[in-house]
C-alpha cells in the first residue's frame, strides 16, 4: 500500500498509471453525465412552481458544489506540497485552479440565467451570488500568482500559501456576506429530515454531481499529465518518452 502511494507520488509512475486510468474515467464520466442529463431533462417532471426553467438546477447546483470542493482540494494539495515537498501535489494544485475557476464561473452564469425568470433580474446582490463572485476573484488571485512567478516551484509554494489564507477566509467571507443580505432559497438537499426535493429530481441531481466530480478528476489528470511533462522536461524519462514516439 505505502509503496504504491510512494510510487504514485513520483511523476514518472504517475504519468504511466494515470495514462491507464484516463479512458476508464472519461467513459464513466460520459455515461453518468448522459444518464443524469436524461433523467433531469426528460424523466423528471416539471416543477409545480417554476415550470421547466428549474431544470438548470442540474448544472447550476453541481457546479456550485464543485466550486468550493475544488478550492479545498487545491488548498489541501498546496499544503501537502508545502509541507512534504511532493512535486505531484504542487502539480495537482496548479492544475486545479483554472478548473475551479471555470466551475465557479459556470455556477455564476447558470445562476444568473436562472435568476432572470425566477427573480426577474439577472443579478441581485444576494449573499450566495456575492460570495461566489468573491470566490472567483480568489481563484483569479491564485492563477495570477502562478502566472506571475517564473520558477514553477516557487510559484506553487506561493500559490499554496495564498490558497491556505483563502481557506481561512472563505467561511468568514461567506458568513459575513450572508449576514449582509440574503435572498437565496434555503438548502433543499442537505436538510437532515426528508429533503424537500422529490426523488425523481434528486436522483438525476446526485448523478450529475457525481458526473461533475469525475469530470473534474478526469480533466485534472489530463492537465496534471501535461504539467508533469512540462516540469520534468529535462529529466531522462521524459526525453525517452519523446524519442520513443
Amino acid at each position: 500500500m505505502w509503496t504504491f502511494l510512494h510510487k504514485l507520488g513520483s511523476p514518472r509512475h504517475f504519468y504511466r498509471i494515470s495514462g491507464g486510468m484516463l479512458p476508464w474515467l472519461a467513459w464513466t464520466t460520459a455515461l453518468l453525465m448522459a444518464a443524469g442529463l436524461y433523467g433531469g431533462l426528460v424523466l423528471a417532471p416539471p416543477d409545480y412552481q417554476q415550470g421547466e426553467s428549474y431544470r438548470i438546477i442540474f448544472i447550476h447546483v453541481p457546479s456550485a458544489w464543485m466550486s468550493l470542493f475544488v478550492y479545498v482540494i487545491m488548498a489541501a494539495a498546496g499544503a501537502v506540497g508545502l509541507v512534504w515537498r511532493i512535486k505531484l501535489a504542487d502539480v495537482m494544485a496548479a492544475a486545479s485552479a483554472p478548473l475551479g475557476a471555470s466551475f465557479t464561473f459556470l455556477a455564476l452564469v447558470t445562476g444568473s440565467l436562472w435568476g432572470k425568470p425566477m427573480w426577474g433580474t439577472y443579478w441581485v446582490w444576494d449573499a450566495r451570488l456575492t460570495s461566489e463572485l468573491v470566490l472567483l476573484f480568489l481563484y483569479f488571485g491564485v492563477m495570477g500568482l502562478h502566472a506571475a512567478i517564473e520558477d514553477k516551484r516557487t510559484a506553487s509554494r506561493a500559490a499554496a500559501v495564498l490558497a491556505l489564507v483563502g481557506v481561512v477566509n472563505i467561511p468568514i467571507i461567506h458568513y459575513s456576506v450572508e449576514w449582509w443580505s440574503t435572498l437565496h432559497q434555503g438548502p433543499t438537499v442537505t436538510k437532515f429530515d426528508a429533503p424537500s426535493i422529490h426523488l425523481s429530481m434528486l436522483v438525476p441531481l446526485l448523478l450529475m454531481a457525481l458526473a461533475f466530480k469525475l469530470y473534474y478528476v478526469t480533466v485534472l489528470l489530463m492537465r496534471a499529465r501535461s504539467e508533469v511533462l512540462e516540469r520534468e522536461r529535462s529529466s531522462a524519462w521524459v526525453r525517452e518518452l519523446a524519442r520513443g514516439t
Binding site: F137, L145, A148, V165, G166, I172
Partner: protein
C-alpha cells in the same frame, strides 16, 4: 538566544521603520492625500446633495481607506528586499513573525493612523450623521490594522516580482471584503439608531484573528519569496 532578546529586536525595528518614514516626509503624506482626494471626488462625481452623501459616506470613506492602504502596502517590504536587509532579518535568530509584526505595526502607524486623524474632518465634509461619526472612527480604528496585517501577506507573496502592483490588489482586495462589510454597515446601523455592538465585536474578532495568523502567513510567504 544570546545577547539582546527578541523584544529588543522588535522595538529597534519599529523605531528604525518609523525614523525612516519621518525622514521621507513626502512619502508619508501620500496615502493621506490619496484618501482625502478620493473622498473629495465622490461628491463631485455623484452628487453634492447632503442626504445622498450621508447614505453613501461610510462606504466611500471605507473604500477610500482600503485603497489608500493598498497603495502604500508596496513600501512595506520593497526597499528592505531591494537592498538585502530583509534577507538578513530572516537569517537573524529572532523569529520572523515578530519582525513582520514590527514592520506591519510601523506601516499602520505611518499610514493607518493619519487616516484616522483625517476621518473626523472628512466625515463632516461627507455629511455623515453626527451620531454615526464616532462609529465610523471606531470601525476604522479596528479595521485599518486588519487591512495592514492581511495586506502584508499579499506584499510578501509579490515582493520578488518586478511588477507586483496590479497582482497585489487582485490578491488582497477579496480578502478585505468582510472588514468592509462590517465596517461600513456599522456606520449605517448607527445612523438608523440600531445597536452596533455586534459589528464592533466582529471587527475586534477579525483584528485578533489577523493579529495571530497573518504574521505567520507573511513570514512563510517571505521565506518563499526570498529563496
Amino acid at each position: 538566544m544570546n545577547g539582546p532578546g527578541a523584544g529588543y529586536a522588535f522595538v529597534r525595528l519599529l523605531e528604525r521603520d518609523l525614523v525612516l518614514a519621518v525622514r521621507n516626509r513626502g512619502e508619508l503624506a501620500n496615502p493621506l492625500l490619496f484618501y482625502v482626494i478620493v473622498a473629495t471626488l465622490f461628491p463631485l462625481g455623484v452628487t453634492s446633495d447632503p442626504k445622498t452623501l450621508a447614505t453613501m459616506a461610510a462606504g466611500v470613506l471605507w473604500i477610500a481607506a482600503l485603497l489608500a492602504t493598498l497603495l502604500s502596502l508596496d513600501n512595506l517590504f520593497r526597499s528592505d528586499f531591494d537592498d538585502g536587509t530583509l534577507e538578513l532579518m530572516m537569517l537573524s535568530p529572532c523569529p520572523t513573525t515578530l519582525l513582520v509584526l514590527a514592520k506591519v505595526l510601523a506601516h499602520w502607524l505611518v499610514t493607518g493612523l493619519p487616516l484616522l486623524v483625517a476621518t473626523p474632518l472628512l466625515a463632516v465634509l461627507m455629511a455623515v450623521p453626527e451620531a454615526a461619526r464616532w462609529t465610523l472612527w471606531l470601525t476604522l480604528l479596528l479595521g485599518t490594522p486588519v487591512l495592514s496585517l492581511v495586506g502584508g501577506i499579499g506584499v510578501a507573496l509579490t515582493v520578488g516580482l518586478r511588477r507586483g502592483g496590479a497582482l497585489l490588489s487582485l490578491l488582497v482586495l477579496p480578502l478585505y471584503v468582510p472588514v468592509l462589510i462590517f465596517g461600513a454597515n456599522a456606520v449605517g446601523a448607527t445612523a438608523a439608531g440600531l445597536p452596533v455592538t455586534g459589528q464592533l465585536l466582529m471587527l475586534c474578532a477579525f483584528l485578533v484573528l489577523a493579529l495571530s495568523l497573518a504574521p505567520v502567513a507573511t513570514a512563510a510567504a517571505l521565506r518563499i519569496s526570498i529563496d
